[in-house]
């Protein structure tokens, strides 16, 4: 229970359906740890702030369930925040939400549920899970509300994890969820949705990284470098590759006639390579550490629609097996813009999530 409308409505729904449930908020990140980042307003709607815990507790009280706050700050820092910072410093664009799902929400939290005698967990994710008799596998499907679908971040879930998870909001659209919350008179019915990464205030991940590194007493390494074109001409200077992500257009500090985009970054040489729109196009790439969900894997080429970013319309592609069973080659029908190392590549067959991996 994050204190948001979605998880609050899930709690109320499950109680209404007659389940015996326990509500828990995971204390993942101390908002006051990096004080320079905390806005005057005090951090509502971000990861486990005091206000959010208060809201979750109030909802638990309203629906009449036991409620606890469980502390996973140490694990969250080790398995989500630190990798997030390291990925950026390595010139990649991470998706911490996927790591949080894999290692915290559907791992530590599942273990905590086990510890207190619960068979399953339920979350406010917009996604659907069902058991398919024919294949004997738990399948993950897109949510009915496509605009809120979160399956992109769930590609790492194992069969074991899915077998013990409920996604009660999967069949609902967001307005219905809010309506239900209002109808059940939940304290958070009118609360705004949280945006961006939960532990990064205002979406300013560069400021977060600087503050975090300072807090750990780590000097960020050499953060000056050149912005160059694809044919090696230097166009300008920058303050660190971690400020840039593939496909980025703003913040280059270069005025030219035609639009320029970040094509790649190299933390070794601290170079940011920019180019035109065509340079961003990519027809094929390798996905590593692939996790298969609805199917067992690929032995022969498989047709799928592949998302390379959360806000990307899944594009038709063919999935090819490689020498390594955990690597898949994705060949798009049409080249796609800005295939970004560090992001996830998620393979769909319509609504069905076949599986996904990491863009190398």
């Amino acid at each position: 229970m994050s204190g948001g409308v979605d998880s609050s409505t899930v709690a109320a729904l499950l109680v209404r359906q007659g389940h015996t449930i326990v509500g828990m908020t995971m204390q993942l990140w101390n908002q006051r740890r990096l004080p320079e980042l905390v806005p005057e307003t005090g951090g509502h709607g971000r990861c486990c702030s005091l206000d959010d815990v208060y809201d979750a507790r109030r909802v638990a009280e309203q629906v009449g369930i036991p409620y606890y706050v469980v502390n996973f700050e140490r694990q969250f820092e080790e398995q989500v925040v630190r990798p997030f910072v390291e990925e950026y410093l390595a010139g990649r664009t991470p998706i911490p939400c996927t790591l949080c799902n894999n290692y915290i929400k559907f791992d530590r939290f599942l273990e905590m549920a086990d510890a207190v005698g619960a068979h399953q967990i339920a979350t406010g994710h917009y996604a659907r899970v069902r058991y398919d008799e024919a294949s004997g596998r738990y399948q993950l499907l897109r949510a009915r509300d496509d605009s809120k679908d979160q399956t992109y971040f769930l590609f790492g879930l194992t069969q074991k994890q899915l077998s013990r998870t409920l996604f009660p909001l999967g069949e609902m659209i967001k307005p219905e969820v809010r309506e239900l919350a209002r109808e059940m008179d939940l304290a958070v019915a009118a609360k705004g949705d949280s945006q961006e990464i939960c532990f990064v205030p205002n979406g300013d991940y560069a400021a977060f990284m600087n503050a975090y590194l300072k807090d750990k007493g780590i000097e960020p390494q050499a953060t000056h470098g050149a912005i160059v074109t694809t044919d090696g001409r230097t166009l300008g200077e920058h303050q660190g590759v971690h400020h840039f992500t593939v496909g980025q257009r703003r913040g280059l500090g270069i005025a030219t006639g035609e639009p320029l985009y970040v094509i790649s970054t190299d933390p070794e040489t601290q170079r940011v390579v920019v180019g035109g729109n065509d340079d961003l196009l990519c027809g094929r790439f390798l996905a590593k550490q692939v996790n298969w969900i609805s199917i067992e894997g690929v032995s022969t080429p498989v047709r799928a629609q592949v998302k390379i970013r959360n806000k990307h319309a899944a594009a038709p592609a063919t999935l090819h097996v490689t020498g390594d069973p955990t690597w898949v080659e994705v060949v798009f029908d049409q080249p796609q813009r800005a295939v970004t190392p560090g992001q996830g590549a998620v393979f769909y067959d319509g609504d069905l999530v076949l599986g996904g991996g990491w863009i190398g």
Binding site: P66, R108, A115
Partner: protein
């Protein structure tokens, strides 16, 4: 589902006779104790009667009792008050590594303000070595603050020995007695203390009331300002119902202390013997002797203490991992770490603190629940 309470060091329920005193006072004795008229006088009488009751429990004179809003305020008043009364800019404070945050936090604040602070280590059994104190004394030491009984372990510190050293050195001794009063005998003269903190809600009085014993002649600067109450040491219109309740609780404690501490010790020992006998990989944290009779801090290897507290709560047994004030903290108990426990073992530890409502049947039921929980948690534990 029935709920059983094994967290008396966190707080205690208000005893029936104490409740009666508080309620009658709330309803009927509403004058301001500083008013000269009939209503004020009635309030003043209740106030002074309670003062006599509290002083009797600790063998002090009534004039040496200052009423406060609780133990935290008493600790703050003692520490800031003694240090600020010293007058000299170069001062030194000695405390211990296992104090409650109500002593550690004022110490840390004074340190930020330029006061030198020494934090004495403790033995594996949880006690301060008086020789360490002797060696730590400096010419500019003004105050020593060592708790009487530790809230997480129950360990009792050698206060009489410590006070001999502080007296010899001409240094003030403050003792946080919050976890001791009501559980073991307290005699401020035998102990040799100059300042002693008291918290009502640890011995069956309501929350929000406590006291500080201030030995006659002790220089204490006020930390809050307003009227002249409590002999100019703590301003504010007195919470007479709360204070009356504190007095009643003190009297109750005096009457029942020796029988009750024997009863509690036997229940606590029953719990510990059963656990050590039947549950492998479990042990007592801190020395088993020289403890308050009701407290037991036990590690259970291979389990997560936080998960176990929740699991036990869902079965109807209320216990805790460390002090209530530190729940949800990212770092394991500073007390257990000071004993030399590893972070893992500290996180696998639970505190059981018994009180008036506990019976042998309840302890047995707790033991069964413990065994079941530990077995279950160890079986499912992947991230041990």
């Amino acid at each position: 589902m029935q709920h059983f309470y094994f967290d008396h060091n966190a707080t205690t329920p208000v005893a029936p006779e104490v409740l009666e005193t508080a309620v009658s006072c709330l309803g009927q004795v509403y004058g301001n104790a500083s008013s000269i008229h009939h209503f004020g006088q009635a309030a003043k009488q209740r106030l002074e009667a309670a003062r006599r009751q509290v002083s009797a429990l600790i063998h002090s004179s009534p004039a040496e009792i200052v009423f406060t809003s609780g133990g935290t305020e008493a600790d703050n008043l003692a520490i800031f008050g003694a240090i600020r009364a010293a007058g000299s800019p170069r001062v030194h404070l000695i405390t211990s590594a296992i104090e409650h945050s109500a002593v550690l936090a004022p110490s840390a604040q004074l340190e930020r303000e330029g006061v030198a602070v020494t934090r004495l280590p403790v033995s594996a059994g949880g006690t301060v070595n008086p020789e360490d104190l002797r060696r730590a004394l400096r010419p500019e030491t003004v105050l020593v603050s060592i708790m009487h009984a530790n809230n997480e372990l129950g360990t009792v510190q050698p206060i009489a020995e410590i006070s001999r050293i502080t007296r010899e050195a001409g240094v003030l001794l403050h003792v946080d007695g919050v976890q001791a009063l009501g559980k073991i005998a307290v005699d401020v003269d035998a102990l040799g203390v100059d300042l002693y903190s008291i918290s009502g809600h640890k011995f069956y009085a309501p929350k929000g009331v406590g006291a500080l014993f201030v030995r006659k002649g002790t220089k204490l600067a006020p930390t809050t300002f307003g009227g002249h109450h409590e002999r100019d040491r703590r301003p504010g219109t007195e919470n007479v119902p709360g204070i009356a309740a504190l007095g009643a609780a003190a009297e109750l404690a005096g009457r029942t202390l020796s029988a009750e501490s024997e009863r509690l010790a036997s229940l606590r020992d029953r719990l510990e013997s059963w656990v050590l006998d039947r549950i492998s990989g479990a042990g007592i944290n801190g020395a088993r002797w020289n403890r308050t009779p009701n407290t037991s801090n036990i590690y259970f290897d291979g389990i997560d203490g936080e998960a176990m507290v929740i699991a036990l709560d869902l079965r109807g047994f209320a216990v805790s991992t460390g002090s209530a004030c530190s729940s949800g903290a990212i770092t394991p108990s500073h007390v257990l770490i000071a004993l030399g426990l590893s972070a893992d073992r500290a996180r696998s530890s639970l505190r059981f603190s018994l009180g008036r409502s506990n019976t042998a049947e309840q302890v047995d039921a707790l033991c069964d629940a413990l065994a079941a929980s530990v077995t279950h948690l160890r079986r499912i534990s992947v991230h041990a």
